[in-house]
């Protein structure tokens, strides 16, 4: 009889905890999605870029929105931001809408816009273009996961750095959810099966490879920036601005400073308003609804 009472109590406790977690998640989702969205006010031929909002020390706390927005600026494509945090049909962000057509995934967005806007094929050889592609995949499909591990699994205090708007119980809940989701994703990818030291070893090799390839060049494929620089800058900027004192950041500062110089070059070229597009600096400005390059 006592076993039955105890098991019913345990069931009651588990269900209550489950309901509390669901309620807390709902509160978080509602409070973070209260931002107004601008989708009903987008003119024709203006890209509506959906992203999750500005980062504290870089215009985004994720490499992919920064990559996509840098691409839009590189080719002066008229665009407007929607920071409401709405996710794409594939459950990710960033994504775009252009003349009523939705496109998910930053790479597909870039391919789509190149076709729609008749952006001339870059004047580089197929050989060099292929090299750029490989560098991009090293960064986005491999280095990226080592950064996620460092930020969200190994040293969870760093989440507060990139998301200072979360404090107290909301931060604790976010840390629990993010680290569990990322562990699952990294396990599926394969990299999550390695030890902490092995994951860092992989990340270190990737950073060394990028630095060795860049060498003394101005940009990765030569003296002029190319599309692939958007992807590489998007990723490296996260290390430099949003991963202070991480092994990645220390390695770049101490041994591969050419990557820091490269990021500064890209930042000066395409983000003269950088300080206004970060929310943890002196002069943040909300650019929801502002149209860039609307000539």
């Amino acid at each position: 009889m006592f076993d039955r009472v105890e098991s019913e109590f345990v069931t009651f406790f588990n269900v209550t905890c489950g309901i509390c977690i669901i309620l807390m998640l709902t509160v978080i989702l509602i409070s973070t999605s209260r931002r107004r969205n601008v989708s009903e006010n987008v003119p024709d031929n203006v890209v509506l870029l959906y992203q999750v909002g500005r980062g504290p020390y870089a215009p985004s706390s994720s490499p992919f929105p920064l990559k996509l927005e840098t691409f839009l600026r590189m080719y002066k494509i008229p665009y407007m931001n929607d920071h409401s945090g709405k996710f794409s049909s594939k459950g990710k962000t960033p994504w775009i809408k252009y003349n009523g057509v939705s496109v998910a995934d930053s790479e597909f967005c870039i391919e789509f816009l190149k076709r729609k806007r008749n952006i001339d094929k870059e004047k580089i050889s197929p050989f060099l273009k292929a090299t750029g592609r490989a560098l991009q995949k090293l960064t986005e499909e491999n280095l990226y996961w080592t950064m996620c591990y460092s930020m969200f699994v190994e040293n969870q205090d760093m989440i507060a750095t990139v998301m200072p708007q979360y404090r107290g119980w909301r931060l604790k809940l976010l840390v629990i959810i993010l680290s569990r989701v990322l562990r699952l994703e990294m396990w599926g990818h394969g990299i999550g099966r390695h030890s902490t030291n092995d994951i860092w070893h992989i990340g270190k090799e990737d950073i060394c490879a990028l630095s060795n390839y860049l060498g003394e060049r101005m940009f990765f494929l030569g003296d002029e920036p190319h599309e692939v620089d958007c992807a590489l800058f998007g990723m490296l900027a996260q290390i430099i601005y949003h991963m202070p004192n991480s092994p990645h950041e220390k390695l770049i500062k101490e041994k591969h400073n050419n990557l820091s110089s490269y990021c500064k070059r890209m930042k000066d070229l395409y983000w003269p308003d950088w300080n206004e597009r970060c929310y943890n600096v002196l002069t943040p400005k909300d650019d929801m609804g502002k149209i860039y390059f609307n000539y």
């Binding site: 273009k129 490989a134 560098l135 699952l184 990818h189 099966r193 390695h194 990737d206």
Partner: protein
Amino acid sequence: MDLCLLLGIGVLAVVGFLIKKYLNKSVIKADYPKDTVIVHQLGSGPYCPSISPFVIKLETYLRMNKIPYKNVYDRVMSSKGKTPWIQYNDDVIPDSHFIIGYLKNKFNIKINDKLTPEQKAVGASFTHLVEDHLYWGLLLWRAVYDKNKTIFRMVGLNSIILWIFERKARSVCHAQGQGRHTRTETIQLIEDDLRFISDFIGNKKYFLGDNPTETDCAIFGQLCQFVWQTPDSPMETSIREKYTNLIDYCERIKSRYWPDWDELITRGNNNNKK
């Protein structure tokens, strides 16, 4: 009655798990020859010595550097739940990337020594392109988008196993990211990667020049799957029509390091399967 059935299934599952764990332990302790790399892998493929690109990569590396090795087709997974993995005397190493790092040190291999840091960076980048991007396209094609599941049927997997495997592949690929794209988008991504690889190889003999390097093992491991082991696929058609230098490249490596290739494939005849 239902509770007894559930309990019975639970007990069987636990017993099966314990037996597997015991067998895995006995695999590691088996009496293997000394100073020989023991490669634990799944088994022969129908048109390539393995359906796993990582096995082909590892074996090509062993052959390229003339490291004595022996294959064990035990289908036992590593401590990280994957294959291939190796034993060398008392050392057990999972994951082809770390295995190659281990072998480089153990056997003092200098095959990459003449490369510049920039060439090594390019080699590493393309290795990641094929292993962390193209590979997922291969998995999605074989497990999800190929309606006939040709290659998996040819290695003897039945419909129930294939159904389970498809579900698992969808889940893993969704977590990785590429599984969120449509069939058309996945095929486009594969085609793009093959085009970039073809453009980079051009007329070169090997990936980074006139001499083979470690990168060739990884690239060949993945490419041979598309050249010979994705029958009736859009990618196979693209390679034969547009990227014929990939066929030449694979044939070159196969002739140099795999003279016994035809003896190691089953052609779908499971009696020849190891």
